[in-house]
């Protein structure tokens, strides 16, 4: 379970895209998220919602990749929101400064509502 390979699903809306993860966000998992985000950026998306409700574990490299994504989004003047985080992950995001530049919502609906 710990090493469960990350699977991604992306839902494209008009102005934003929702990426739902399932599994361990480690180095290869983070790579997958980054790859998908960059593809969506190439398609013109600037606003992203990452739904981590199915991901309970994220390691330090996964976080460093998320920071990289945040920096890209900021360059594009877009936004990145997290939802479905466990308390531990939410606190980790806050400790590591990710919460400074992103928004954290309990649910995906709330994240979407905040975007619209």
């Amino acid at each position: 379970m710990l090493e469960q390979e990350l699977t991604l699903t992306a839902r494209k809306e008009d102005k934003y895209a929702v990426i739902t993860t399932e599994g361990y966000i480690n180095n290869p998992g983070g790579e997958k998220i980054a790859h998908m985000c960059y593809q969506l950026m190439d398609e013109g998306y600037k606003h992203f919602i990452l739904n981590f409700s199915q991901s309970k574990v994220i390691n330090s490299i996964g976080i460093s990749i998320l920071i990289e994504i945040i920096e890209k989004v900021l360059e594009l003047k877009g936004s990145l929101s997290f939802c479905g985080l466990t308390n531990t992950i939410a606190k980790t995001f806050r400790i590591m400064g990710l919460a400074q530049y992103t928004k954290i919502f309990p649910t995906e609906e709330e994240a979407i509502k905040a975007l619209s």
């Binding site: 460093s64 308390n87 531990t88």
Partner: protein
Amino acid sequence: MLLKDPTQTEGSFSEKGVSRVMTAIKKAPVKNTVGLLLILIAASGWLLCLKPGAEEPPSVQSWLVVLFLPVMIAGVSLLNFWRRWDLGQRLKAFISFYLSLYGLHLLVSALVRSPQLQASVKRGLLSLLDPLAALLAITLTISFCRLYYPRHGKRQKILFFAIIGLFFITLQASGLFLLLIILILFQGLRLPWLVTVSHTSRIKLFLILAGFWISLFFFSLRSLLRPEALPDATIYLGGELHYLFMKTLFVYILLLSIRMAVSLVETSQRLRSKTALSYLFRAVLPIVILIGVILVNFIFQGVYFKFHNLYQGTFQRLERHGERIISGERLRQLISSSTQTGDPALALNSFAAEEERVIAADFPGTFLKIQLTPSEGGQGIVAFSPSTPPEFRRAETLPRWFMENMSPNFFAEKGKKFFKCIKNKKIRTEDVLLQLYVPITGEAVEEIERRYQVTLRFSPSPTGADSAINLQQDTEGHVSATISLPPSEQGQQGAVTSGAYLRLPLTITDWENGGTSQLGSVQLFPSWKDVLSSSYSFDYSDPNSYLANTKMMAYVTLIVALIIIIISSFIGGRISKRIQQSLDSLVIGTRKIGEGELDYKIGIKSRDEFYSLATSFNLMTDNLKKYMAEMVEKERIEYDIKTASKIQASILPERDPSLEGYDVISYFHPAKEVGGDYYDYLYLPNNQLGIVIGDVSGHGIAAGLLMSMAKSCLYNQVKTSHQVEDVLFAMNNMVNELLHKRLLMSFCYTILDLKKRRLTYSSAGHHFPYHYSASEATLYNLESIAYPLGVRRNSRYDKKTAHLKPGDLLIFYSDGIIETMDNKDELFGFERFEELIVRDAHLPPTELKQSILRELKEFARGTPQGDDIALIIIKVK
């Protein structure tokens, strides 16, 4: 011609609406049994349209019926030949084409029933087609054995042409052919089991062919027994088809033998089979072959003796018949009365007819010719039996010794001199010798002297040698001839020449002087086809020939036996030697490898299990060598890791600081040999203690190296300024320069003023340190939010402050504690950690550390540690 897709095999005939029979005909070459069946149908059709004994030429309808099938098959086959891509398909089409032509030829030859025409056709067309008939037989058989289909590579082609060559060479050996017929009869049904492919189809094929052959055989035999029932053409047709079938079977057997040899070679590539073969060649096979040779000898001897007796018995019976006729009173009366009535020929014909019926009991189809010497000045009397061929039925008068191309000879019998005229005569398909004996009297002497320009004088042979004419020329140029008579000619009662006819002396009245002499002949023409093969000849007069032949066969058997034993021993020994060599190679190879020569290769050329074993063995040594190299490399890496771990351990503080008023204790445990966590103490001026804790993303050697670089950078920085904001600024830029983006470092730097119990701290993405206030019994997070080091260059980090009181706790830790995971993938988390601290905050730092580690261990329940764990506990006394 535009070739179409070979998969579109259906021809245009079906498109034109020709019935399904045509489709079957098209497939005839593919289904060879169907092809043979069609030939049988064609032959039956011909027989049905032919009336037994018909003298009139065949009707137009007969011609159409006979020619329809072969012509259609030929046409369709030719069409198929051009439309096929595949070599096998083309060959089959060619076979069908030739088969139809050959059948056509047979049918036409049989239909016309003209011996002259048959002979000319046979000499011309058949001589041209005969090799093709052989080719037909070969290709049919090859198709049965599927040697060329579906693949026809180089080896198959070589085999194909080798078979053709062998066929033409061996087909002429009639003795071998006879042996093969015997083999077919006795072993044919067993041979298919000796090869490995298509047993069922071979059995079916053989049964079909055998049935076809047997029906032809009995059909031909019935025709021979009752020649009046069916015309000679039927026999001819049956014989030709029989011959064709024999050739096919011959090649079939030949190919089966080749298949057996191939199977033997394939089988010999297995060690178990090879060992068995070794024993087979050395012991079993020679014995079996010897027994076989002896049996074949017996068979040959039996066949020889049977024919010998049959041949001898035939002539003895013929002689008895001849003697009975000659010595018969009725013939004497007939001769006597015929000279008086003046119609001797009629009486003699009647007599000949009666005798022939008697003889026919022993020799069916025999015809009889009784010839009397002509009377004085008159004509000879010739009698014929009803079955005498027409060419003998013309009236012949004597003296007819003027017949052209006769070879003259002289013969004396009891003082009488005769002129013997000999001529080869063709009766049906056999040559017989005709002999005429003309008494050398006045007219004959004159004629002989005139024709040969000699003067005849008679004298006994001075040397006793063979009879001869000695030509002599006198001084005036006249040529004279002396007839020498050998003693053996005196009183001879008859002679058997080439076995085709019998001459016996007949005593009749001399037409010159009324005396009696033995003149004339009785000729019996037996029908040899139902007696024996005319190809056999032997020394009839030698009673020891059988014994001599047996001795010869014994010598042959001995020589063959010796050769077989030598060859078998040689082959068996060679196989055994190869097995032994392979074993030796393996033994040597294992010994060498055992001694450490991993580069040694076992070389075995034979393609058997030894080869597989040697190949596996060589592969194993290769892998072993590779594995050993990997082991060395792995040991080297492990050594490096251990060294790096030691270096890291040396980077971390050797002991915790011993401070007045403070209890300080730390703990570090890497997830791997080399971790990415870092903590340190800095003894700063003004009674201050710097507390550093950080975590490089990831762990292992790379993380450890980065950690050491961070320490180096930190130590350099504090020499310049140990202030919190300056240290974090410098450290961030250093990490930003040295690391690529995805390698970050969390870092928390705290300065504890020991005297004032004041904290100044800042954190770059590292977990907030805990401050437990003993007086308030409350746990605080010393929050300071910022990215980890290295994300953004020139980032500024705010410093925070806090104050401690006696009994308070400071806890610095890495994420390894929070991320400790149980077997259900549940994280230890902040809440558990915070509850634990609050619960055990009253304990001394050492016991608190133990409590924390114990809790983590119990929580993990054996789940491996996923990340480094670093822990610093400071308690204010």
